[in-house]
Amino acid sequence: MFLILLAGLLSHDAEKELVSRSKKNDSKAMEELILNYQDRIYSFILRLVSDADDAEDIAQDVFVKFFNTLQGFKGECSVKSWLFKIASNEVKNFWKSRAVKKSRKTQSLFVQSPDTAEEEELPIPSQAKSPREAATETELAARLNSAMLALPVEFKEALLLRFQEQLSYEEIAAALEINIGTVKSRLARAREELKKLMEPYL
């Protein structure tokens, strides 16, 4: 617990120190890095794949890949953005493989076209409850989760990286390997889509 709390407060220098030790195969340092980022990465992945087991497997792959490529990590970006970049790629690979195995009409970034997305039946909050009744904090969070699940992956990851992880446009662009303009427009579209989904509760 202490480690987790401490990890959350890791300064840039402390993180650099951990990375340096991890490059020397210091298992303690590696463990600290894992503790510091495992929840973030896992949550990010879970929201993108919507399955806990898949999220755990992908998260494991993300960290393993991170440590395996750590020797090439020069520190141009933060560990967090590096990790999310790996996570984003792993999720994409996951969906690619899943798309090959099983055609998924919903929620897939690679299968869903803008036209079909509009035609899809999104999980609209039940009209039985008034917005006022549902507008409690917990309810809003639950609704948000449901709305987020309905968003395309590219919108979700952009929103999460931007608002939850507080990454800059540059960091998001680096993580998603897109340019900043695309990040901004993607965020705008994501906002717009989410607001539509959350409109009854706002």
Binding site: N25, Y42, A52, E56, Q60, F67, K195, M198, E199
Partner: protein
């Protein structure tokens, strides 16, 4: 709440993300100040943003960290242990080395099994020859005068190399000849080789003084070679005893059954002395000047008495060898040659003594060496006598000298063979010799070539076929039997000792393939068989009936 839609409402996300152009941004900012609906929409967006920012992280499973650590450790462990070299490379290298080792070991095992597996072990070949060469090289430069020998017979066995004819090399070789290379073939091969390589000026001389001192008898036993190349011979003496001692020392590493001891050599000298005298009396051979003759282990003759320089032929070598109990010199040894200045007389003896005491209907014993397949001269025991006859040809048992041949100068030796062979009993064997000589284009020959005292060849007939015999040989695993070759319905077997032969005969008697009486006659009571003398057994078998 204003439910009215504003046209600028769709620009709110772009405005919030800062992607509106400056002109559009200024217009939008001017609009929202006056549009309540747009302000409400912007508030909703901010609320959504706050909601997303407040989303709690899902707690990662406890197993995730453990799984990551385990995965990392298992992936990095080989690299940590092995350090710089990539583990896969090491593994591949180790695999390659292991495969190579398996191949090498397998090859050796295969070879070893092939060498050991045969039912009948082949006779050793290279040992004696190699040893002989070593001894010869060591003794080739012996020139010092010999000290007086302790044994009278040894004292006679001193070699004096000073004579009219030049001598350059004196060799001593002491080893028993290889079983699989009979003397006959060896001699012929050597002579043929010499005929090809040596020019007419290269002559080999037997020292006259050495003949007088009967040193060649010892020389035969020791296998010395006197070679001359047309230069004056230095008058030097070499003690044969010393030679023997040196040879015995040199051969100390030879297995017991392969050794030639000094004692046997000395006894051979005395035997040679006796046979030498007989040889002078019985056989004269004449050789052309172009023909080089090869002499075996010893030849004793006095050329000065005859008035000719003597060419000693391979036949004479065989003859001399047959007159001694000492195993003859190996193939490269025991060569004595002389320049021909006219008629050459070589005296040798071919003692042949049929033993009427033995069972004449069961087996035949000869002292001749089995012919080599190379010479296409299979043993023709039937030509000596009927297949079930017994004839013993042994030096010590011989009663009379039976062969005498005379060769005219520059004439075809084949014709002389036919004309001069007086020993009718050995006619068949001599015919074999003629065949072999034709094959090898070697002309200088007499009938004594067919004799070889180095081993005793026993010919028996067994009332069985080949397969049962082979089965029996399998059972006799405790004895060493060399199957030299197979000729028709005959198997030629080699025995290293009399004991092995007796065991073989006993086994044959047990199987009722041979009578006990015959077995004793050709084995236990056979005087021709002596300890240390190689034995060969030609087994005539019954024909296998075809089904």
């Amino acid at each position: 709440m204003n439910s009215q839609k504003c046209d600028f409402e769709s620009r709110i996300p772009d405005y919030l993300e800062g992607i509106l152009a400056d002109k559009d941004k200024a217009a939008f900012e001017a609009h929202i100040n006056s549009c309540e609906a747009c302000r409400i929409e912007i508030a909703k967006h901010n609320k959504l943003k706050a909601l997303i920012e407040n989303i709690e992280y899902e707690k990662a499973p406890e197993s995730l960290r453990r799984r990551i650590i385990i995965e990392m450790m298992s992936a990095k462990k080989p690299a940590r242990i092995l350090g710089i070299i990539p583990p896969r490379s090491i593994i591949r290298f180790a695999e390659a080395v292991a495969a190579l080792l398996i191949l090498v070991v397998g090859f050796h095992i295969y070879n070893d099994r092939n060498a050991a597996a045969p039912l009948i072990k082949p006779a050793r070949k290279s040992f004696a020859q190699i040893k002989m060469q070593d001894v010869a090289e060591q003794k080739s430069a012996i020139t010092a005068p010999a000290p007086a020998a302790e044994n009278p017979s040894q004292a006679d066995a001193s070699v004096k190399t000073g004579a009219k004819e030049p001598e350059t090399i004196a060799r001593l070789k002491t080893s028993e000849q290889p079983q699989e290379t009979p003397m006959l073939e060896t001699t012929l091969r050597e002579a043929a080789k010499i005929e090809k390589t040596e020019d007419d000026k290269t002559l080999f001389t037997l020292d006259k003084q050495a003949i007088e001192n009967k040193s060649l008898s010892a020389d035969k036993a020791a296998g010395s070679v006197v070679k001359s190349e047309g230069e004056p011979l230095p008058k030097e003496e070499t003690s044969v005893k010393d030679i023997f001692e040196g040879a015995a020392k040199d051969t100390s590493e030879i297995p017991h059954e392969k050794k030639i001891t000094e004692q046997s050599a000395v006894s051979a000298i005395s035997e040679a002395d006796k046979s030498e005298e007989k040889a002078r009396q019985t056989t004269n051979a004449y050789f052309s000047g172009d023909q080089y003759a090869q002499v075996g282990s010893s030849v004793n003759s006095k050329t000065e008495e005859i008035g000719h320089e003597l060419f000693l032929s391979p036949e004479a070598k065989q003859t001399a060898a047959s007159s001694s109990e000492m195993p003859a010199a190996p193939e490269n040894d025991g060569k004595v040659f002389r320049r021909d200045k006219g008629a050459i007389s070589a005296q040798a003896i071919m003692p042949v003594a049929p033993t009427s005491e033995t069972d004449a209907n069961e087996a035949a014993i000869t002292s001749s060496s089995p012919s080599s397949p190379d010479f296409e001269t299979p043993l023709k025991s039937t030509e000596i006598d009927a297949p079930k006859s017994v004839a013993v040809f042994s030096t010590k048992e011989s009663k009379t000298a039976t062969a005498k041949s005379r060769f005219a100068k520059n004439t075809d030796s084949d014709n002389f063979l036919a004309k001069n062979i007086e020993d009718k009993e050995r006619k068949g064997v001599i015919e074999e010799t003629k065949t072999s000589l034709r094959t090898n284009k070697f002309k200088a020959v007499d009938e004594h070539l067919v004799t070889d005292e180095r081993r005793v060849n026993i010919i028996i007939s067994l009332k069985t076929t080949k397969q049962p015999l082979l089965d029996m040989l399998k059972e006799l695993s405790e004895i060493t039997i060399a199957m030299e070759r197979e000729e028709g319905n005959s198997l030629i077997l080699g025995f290293s000792s009399k004991e092995d032969l007796l065991k073989f005969l006993d086994a044959a008697v047990d199987k009722k393939w041979l009578s006990e009486k015959t077995s004793e006659a050709i084995g236990k009571n056979n005087p021709a068989i002596k300890e240390g003398k190689p034995l060969s057994l030609t087994v005539n078998l019954e024909k296998t009936k075809k089904k």
